[in-house]
């Protein structure tokens, strides 16, 4: 099969995925029992104002026509305006997404950076102390609400100990001295050489990121452990041992390398999950991210914003899936061979 064919088929699949995503979100959005006009005119508007706004929003037209109008605008790059913020939806997303991106990225670095070695260790010393710790951490990660843990973390590390800065992305003093270029505060402050601002942003970021990191760590370490146990039971490990390879080399070079293949998907999906924004974390930490934006829009039936954010979230999943597929090929020679054979 020629490369252009593969690419073409891939594009069609992606387009269909987006269209399906939009259709489902759109129709769900229209059947939820919330009147989108309310978000704009409020509870007090006289009837003629309500009727006029309904007309302006095109809500009097049949559903399929509304959907057609929306999709044809999206095709031309117009995602509409959010009724809540009065801004073009993409402008809102450009503003909220970097906040979430910064948080999620540091979160997954913590989660995978600690979770994978921990999982490996737990698998190697099965039944040992580390294994027990991983099990308890996993359990706690699943059973304690992130909302509560977030508040407790704030009380301890921010209010009592004063080790980190509190809710929000940065102190008010830096709010208007730092020029947003990318919207990623760490990057913006580092580029400008504003190291105090950088330190401040980091000290705001570290707690919510650790929290998100902890929850993905709980999952990633459990998965790593089970993948590793599976690999360590394989015959090639026995063979490697017979060859007299060092235990470290067997675990880290041979077993982990094979366990990495499914693990990449686990990490990529955890990352994607973090990137759509954790509403509860963002609420507790007053973090103006995508999760909060999406939830608020949903509660007010601000459909342009919901659809725009859905497309972004969808793209993240598609993108990260693609990335993990590519990594698969790098990690697993068999998939590489298959593609070449095709």
């Amino acid at each position: 099969m020629r490369a252009s064919n593969v690419l073409g088929r891939f594009l069609v699949v992606i387009l269909l995925t987006y269209l399906g995503l939009l259709a489902v979100t759109f129709f769900i959005g229209r059947v939820i029992p919330i009147d989108p006009v309310l978000a704009i005119v409020g509870d007090r508007a006289p009837e003629h104002v309500v009727a006029r706004v309904r007309e302006e929003l095109g809500l009097n037209k049949p559903l399929w026509e509304q959907f057609y109008i929306y999709v044809s605008k999206v095709v031309h790059g117009d995602f509409g305006t959010s009724v809540l913020t009065s801004n073009p939806v993409m402008q809102d997303i450009r503003r909220t997404f970097p906040a979430t991106f910064e948080l999620a990225t540091l979160g997954i670095i913590i989660g995978a950076g600690i979770g994978v070695p921990l999982g490996v260790w737990a698998a190697v010393k099965r039944g040992g102390l580390v294994d027990q710790i991983v099990r308890v951490m996993g359990l706690v990660g699943y059973s304690i609400p992130i909302f509560w843990l977030g508040l407790m973390a704030l009380v301890v590390f921010y209010a009592r100990l004063g080790w980190v800065s509190g809710p929000g992305r940065i102190d008010i003093v830096y709010e208007y001295t730092l020029v947003p270029v990318t919207g990623l505060l760490l990057l913006d402050s580092a580029r400008a050489g504003e190291w105090q601002a950088f330190g401040n942003a980091l000290s705001h970021l570290i707690l919510p990121a650790s929290l998100l990191g902890y929850f993905s760590l709980a999952y990633i370490s459990r998965m790593t452990r089970s993948f590793m146990l599976n690999e360590l039971a394989q015959e090639y490990i026995v063979a490697a041992r017979a060859k007299g390879l060092s235990e470290a080399r067997i675990i880290w070079r041979h077993a982990l390398r094979n366990a990495m293949v499914p693990l990449v998907t686990v990490i990529a999906l955890s990352y994607a999950g973090l990137l759509e924004g954790s509403v509860l974390t963002e609420t507790v930490f007053a973090w103006p991210g995508l999760g909060l934006y999406l939830t608020n829009s949903l509660q007010n039936a601000d459909m342009n914003a919901v659809l725009g954010a859905t497309i972004v979230v969808g793209s993240i999943f598609v993108g990260l899936n693609l990335l993990s597929d590519l990594l698969y090929q790098m990690l697993d020679p068999r998939t590489r061979a298959m593609v070449q054979a095709r």
């Binding site: 029992p33 309310l38 913020t85 008010i172 760490l186 007053a286």
Partner: protein, 536 residues
């Protein structure tokens, strides 16, 4: 290829380590900057910064700080009016013509002079745009067609406003204190006009005012930044900067306040307030608000439509228990549709929990064993707690109340379509005059499904031709004493016969650091003035 990302990673790691060494990850600033007031506030309701459209609670507060109007009322005594940009005014003998003269030498924050042309333009603009709050002005008979005739500039600093009927002057002037009557910079706004929109598209997210503070930036759900307006005619803002930070979670607001990263916290729960009472670094201030909470009974439901059932419901609420626990610090039991503070508001609270009386009334209505009914409720406190308490007390009279919880917009959508049985709601005064509440609770000119106006009385299908007439008469009564008596009489009627079980009047509480001085919460959302606040 595979190796290329490494140097970047290494560099940023080094960067991070360096920054840590320089700034330290240790505690941030334990205090806010001395020249900045930081307010932790939940303001996700703001959808626009155009005073002709803004009608949300949080937006109201911003408007009150950044825009001027002809007149304002005294926050300490709302019955007293004073000129804001108006130097003086007179009411014509016919009771329809209001002539205003402006203070000389006024300027907008932009530097443009503020004249009668701007005032007339702003009022006309609000009527022409016809957004939600426009009804506050159009109730005087202004329409898109006649507004340029009836609101007229008569000189550089003078203008006249002509109302259709001879309304009570207090009513007209009170309405002119509302945000919708705020004055915008005509020259600036028109320079941003697109498609004859009178600058509407631009002003939604921008600023064209003359108030003591000016709006620097609004980032939805994130920040509202205000700065001192040095062109302001009166006493300048005490602090050069006021920053509102959107903090949705009350517990988070409390932490920020205790730690000193916020000077004022606005949305604390009664539990937070109780816990903070012991903290010497924190003090609180409170004001009765123009917001009342109620249960309502849809008269489309034949059971709820019986007079005895309506009354029985009023005896089935444990007002004192609710007052002592659920709304402690944040509200006061109040059984009238006019909140205390408005002209003629009654403070009579005749109802208390009396199950036997309720049972007798239910038996008389033909329901000795009670009945089943549903209630739509937003899942927020204290509304949820009050509804659950009512569910318990109603059960003692055999009434089986099924609670239908929902999100705010969801329950409201149903309420507005009047397909509910019972509903727990709240109503805040739209402007500081008794007519605002009389208009919605005690006035229902057309009870048909396709009525033009759909006040709360309509939403509960309560047909009240007599009370409607009384409301209409009260708004035309020019003698304040007589007008007051009329509202008192209407409230007495209402207490007895209405399908509204009035519960309490909201008290707004703000907690602040002990060095914050001069904060007074206004009775309406647009009269909490941050420009009067200083830090010691």
């Amino acid at each position: 290829m595979k190796r290329s990302p490494q140097p970047i990673v290494r560099r940023s790691l080094a960067t991070a380590v360096m920054a840590l060494a320089l700034a330290g990850i240790a505690p941030g600033h334990a205090a806010t900057p001395r020249d900045t007031l930081v307010v932790a506030f939940a303001f996700d309701d703001i959808i626009t910064m155009d005073p002709a459209e803004a009608f949300e609670i949080s937006a109201g507060e911003i408007m009150g700080n950044v825009y001027d109007r002809l007149v304002r009322f005294d926050v300490s005594d709302p019955s007293k009016l004073y000129g804001d940009v108006a130097k003086s005014w007179t009411v014509g003998a016919d009771g329809k013509t209001y002539a205003f003269e402006l203070k000389p030498g006024l300027k907008f924050a932009s530097g443009n002079p503020l004249t009668a042309e701007d005032v007339a333009f702003s009022l006309q603009r609000a009527v022409l745009l016809d957004k939600t709050p426009a009804f506050i002005l159009t109730q005087f008979g202004f329409t898109k067609e006649n507004v340029k005739e009836r609101i007229k500039q008569t000189g550089p600093l003078t203008l006249t406003i002509e109302t259709e009927k001879s309304f009570a002057p207090s009513f007209v002037l009170n309405c002119l204190t509302a945000n919708v009557a705020a004055i915008v910079d005509k020259k600036l706004v028109l320079s941003k006009e697109a498609n004859n929109d009178l600058g509407y598209g631009w002003l939604k997210t921008n600023y064209a005012g003359s108030g003591p503070l000016k709006l620097k930036e609004w980032r939805a759900n994130e920040i509202v930044a205000l700065e001192r307006n040095d062109n302001y005619y009166g006493e300048k803002s005490k602090l050069p900067r006021v920053i509102y930070r959107h903090v949705k979670e009350a517990a988070t607001q409390r932490l920020l306040l205790e730690k000193g990263d916020a000077d004022i916290a606005r949305n604390l729960t009664p539990q937070d307030l109780t816990a903070l009472a012991a903290n010497k670094e924190i003090k609180t201030t409170s004001t009765p608000k123009g917001t009342v909470y109620y249960f309502s009974l849809n008269q489309k439901n034949p059971i709820l439509a019986k007079a005895e059932v309506r009354e029985a419901m009023k005896w089935l609420v444990d007002y004192s228990a609710i007052g002592d626990t659920l709304i402690k610090n944040i509200g006061v039991v109040h059984q009238n549709f006019l909140p205390v503070g408005l002209l003629g508001a009654s403070t009579e609270n005749p109802y208390k929990l009396d199950v036997d009386k309720a049972k007798a009334l239910l038996a008389k209505a033909g329901y000795p064993n009670g009945f089943k009914v549903t209630i739509d409720m937003r899942t927020v406190q204290p509304v949820q707690g009050i509804t659950e308490a009512f569910q318990q007390t109603a059960k003692r009279a055999g009434i089986d109340v099924e609670i239908l919880p929902g999100d705010g917009k969801q329950t409201l959508t149903k309420y507005r379509a009047r397909t509910h049985d019972m509903y727990i709601g709240q109503w805040g005064a739209d402007y500081w005059d008794p007519h605002t509440n009389a208009d919605t609770f005690a006035r229902n000119p057309d009870n048909a499904d396709d009525a033009k106006s759909k006040p709360l009385a309509w939403r509960n299908a309560w047909a009240i031709p007599e009370l409607t007439k009384k409301s209409d008469a009260a708004v035309l009564e020019r003698d304040p004493a007589k007008r007051k008596a009329m509202y008192e009489e209407m409230q007495a009627d209402f207490r007895k016969s209405s399908p509204f079980v009035m519960l309490y009047q909201q008290t707004e509480v703000a907690a602040m650091r002990s060095d914050v001085d001069g904060l007074k919460l206004g009775p309406t959302s647009d009269t909490t003035y941050m420009f009067r606040v200083s830090k010691k």
